[in-house]
Amino acid sequence: MSETHGHPNYIKIWYWLLFLLIISTVGPMLEIPIVTLITAFGIAIVKSYMVAANFMHLKFEKKIIWLLLLMSICLLGVFFFGVGSDVMMTEGDQWIDCIEDKSCVEQRL
């Protein structure tokens, strides 16, 4: 890789990371859930991209590594939605289509 490129300016990336860290710490102090969500997780994604791309040199890496990492993340997504649709229901209301009989709804309470 270093045959074809010079490395990024690491110090500059670091400054950016620190700036983002401050935002993600200050964000929740506004106590608006949606802002917290964005500053916490949105910025985590940005930060991790910056670390991966610059520090881990993913920017200059072959496509196959990107494929590999994307595959991992996609499979985790499959796992999350597959499991989530079931584990999210701990109340025992798996039997949704009660025809006319309301009692099975009451029993769930």
Binding site: Y10, S48, G84
Partner: protein, 193 residues
């Protein structure tokens, strides 16, 4: 041990050096391990499991300082790699030990945090949040310790003049440990709604 190794190690059909390719595969499997744990945490959290409001009891300041420490250690390890590329062994050695030092700082703060939590009665069996808290940060801390040990070994190897490529490999691993923390920080410290 001899340092020659088989010819197989030095072939590069993909154009990526063998060591680096292997580290990427290792990290891919680590993504699944940490990913599985984090997703279980998220599932329970979204589910409104009682106890998860305890996230407000974790100290954001300690978490933020630890993030800062790890980010900085990431910088030093990448500088160590840059130094070894220029062939500057002394400088690289120095930066590697800065990184190990930051690792110690990280673990120190972690220990301080754990102690405080345990004194206040938030032990691992208190509820699911604390179970996840100790499991996830504990597993992460094990990775930090492992990385520090490997880094120490490598630092002496490069002094003796071999295995220079390993500075980059441990760097990639260390950045991954940093990345995991970047996600654990908002999950365990910030998001307490």
């Amino acid at each position: 041990m001899s340092m020659q190794g088989p010819i197989a190690t030095h072939r590069q059909a993909t154009g990526i050096p063998t060591g680096r390719l292997a580290v990427w595969w290792l990290l891919a499997s680590e993504i699944f391990i940490f990913g599985g744990l984090v997703l279980c945490f998220v599932l329970f959290k979204l589910n409104g499991t009682p106890g998860f409001e305890d996230a407000s009891l974790t100290s954001v300041a300690a978490g933020a300082i630890n993030t800062f420490v790890l980010l900085t250690s990431s910088l030093t390890v990448v500088l160590a790699h840059a130094a070894i590329e220029e062939g500057n062994v002394e400088k690289s050695f120095k930066y590697i030990w800065y990184t190990v030092g930051f690792g110690f700082v990280f673990l120190g703060i972690k220990t301080y945090e754990y102690t405080g939590k345990i004194i206040h009665g938030h032990i691992i069996t208190e509820n699911l949040f604390w179970s996840f808290y100790y499991t996830m940060t504990g597993l992460h801390a094990l990775h930090v310790i492992g990385g520090m040990i490997i880094m120490a070994i490598i630092s002496f190897d490069i002094k003796k003049g071999y295995n220079f490529q390993r500075v980059e490999l441990i760097g990639i691993y260390w950045h991954f440990v940093d990345l995991v923390w970047i996600f654990l920080f908002p999950l365990l410290y910030i998001a307490n709604f």
